[in-house]
């Protein structure tokens, strides 16, 4: 199934202009992140901490709805879904 990915800020820089991913039917959000993380060490470090947990500050949105941290592992994607990934900046 085709999933559209909108990556912002450092994600866009590291992962590149990924606009579509082809994932197996029934894949969840973690599978999508694992696919993106597999592209480089930098990409993996950006998404996962040393324990392999998805970094808490990253904002995920599926079809423009914010994904709560508590439901991140249980989200199942469907054909045509759009996933936005934004690692917020903090400086000023």
């Amino acid at each position: 199934m085709k999933i559209t990915v909108r990556a912002f800020a450092r994600f866009r820089e590291v992962v590149g202009d990924v606009t579509a991913l082809d994932l197996p039917e029934g894949s969840g959000l973690p599978a999508l992140l694992a696919d993106l993380a597999s592209r480089s060490d930098e990409s993996r470090d950006l998404m996962f901490d040393e324990q392999g947990t998805i970094r808490e500050h990253i904002i995920f949105m599926v079809n423009r709805k914010r994904v709560a941290r508590s439901t991140l592992d249980t989200i199942i994607l469907a054909e045509g879904d759009e996933v936005a990934i934004y690692p917020p900046v903090a400086g000023g």
Binding site: R6, F8, A9, R10, R12, E13, R55, E56, H57, I59, M61, R64, R66, A68, R69, A84, Y86, P87, P88, V89, A90, G91, G92
Partner: protein, 271 residues
């Protein structure tokens, strides 16, 4: 005269200054009065804006709010000027190294526009003092450089019902959103967990772009013009000069605002 009386009534004592424009002010601001009208200019004159942070975001935001004629500015920052600030913190110059940023900023702003009231507060914003520091201001610019202070400011703004324009930057990246207590997602709804790291690489131009967006958002809020970034996160990517938006919504479980049902009925142009 009736118009001026109405404005004074609407402000409900939030402001020290305001009211009728002088001939000098009408002349000084004539190019923007042609756009926002005398009533808009009077609203700017009557406004009290807190600038939390006199750094990369706060400097450009303060400059444009000052020259636009915002009547009272309170600048809060605990830092002293360092050499490494000078690539982006454009109110601070080589001669200011070692001086309090708030004093350095106030002096430049007073020179730019002597008609304003500019207060400098050299304090770290914490959960203990944030509410006192923001006082009865009508609007806050979150131009801080760390999330613990941003969260404290967010909580105090929610408690007092004061709108807050949040901005942040790193490298070529930046974002901005406007938080209206009781109406929009608050900072904690949007960013429940703080980004890692403590010192971010920043291009001065990125801070300038986002700081000016914050100033413009403030002017729109104060004068009632345009459409605000309510429940929208504007994401700036300077690599290709692109702008994207993320739609936001309140988190009913938010640690900061989840329990608050209704704000104090803030209306634009009446901050």
């Amino acid at each position: 005269m009736v118009k001026h009386l109405i404005i004074v009534c609407r402000t409900q004592g939030r402001f020290l200054t305001g009211g009728m424009l002088t001939d000098r002010e009408i002349h000084r601001y004539s190019r923007q009065i042609a756009f926002i009208g005398e009533e808009g200019q009077e609203r700017l004159k009557a406004a009290h804006v807190v600038l939390a942070g006199a750094g990369g975001l706060g400097c450009p935001a303060a400059i444009y709010l000052a020259v636009a004629g915002v009547g009272r500015l309170t600048i809060i920052d605990s830092d002293q000027v360092e050499m490494t600030n000078l690539n982006r913190q454009i109110l601070h110059w080589e001669q200011d190294i070692g001086r309090n940023k708030t004093v350095s900023a106030r002096e430049k702003l007073e020179a730019m526009n002597p008609d304003l009231i500019i207060e400098d507060v050299c304090e770290v914003i914490t959960g203990q003092n944030a509410s006192i520091l923001i006082g009865q201001a009508g609007l806050i610019i979150d131009a801080l450089d760390n999330f613990p202070a941003r969260y404290a400011l967010n909580l105090a703004a929610l408690e007092r019902g004061i709108p807050c324009i949040h901005g942040a930057v790193s490298g070529y990246d930046g974002h901005i959103t406007t938080v209206i207590p009781g109406e929009t997602a608050c900072l904690q709804c949007i960013f429940p967990d703080p980004p890692g790291g403590s010192e971010f690489p920043i291009m001065g131009t990125t801070a300038g772009i986002i700081g000016l967006m914050q100033a413009q958002e403030a002017i729109k809020f104060l004068t009632g013009g345009g459409t605000l970034l309510k429940n929208r996160l504007l994401i700036w990517d300077g690599r290709d000069s692109s702008v994207s938006f993320l739609d936001l919504e309140r988190d009913p479980e938010c640690r900061a605002c989840g329990g608050r049902t209704q704000g104090p009925g803030i209306k634009r142009g009446e901050s």
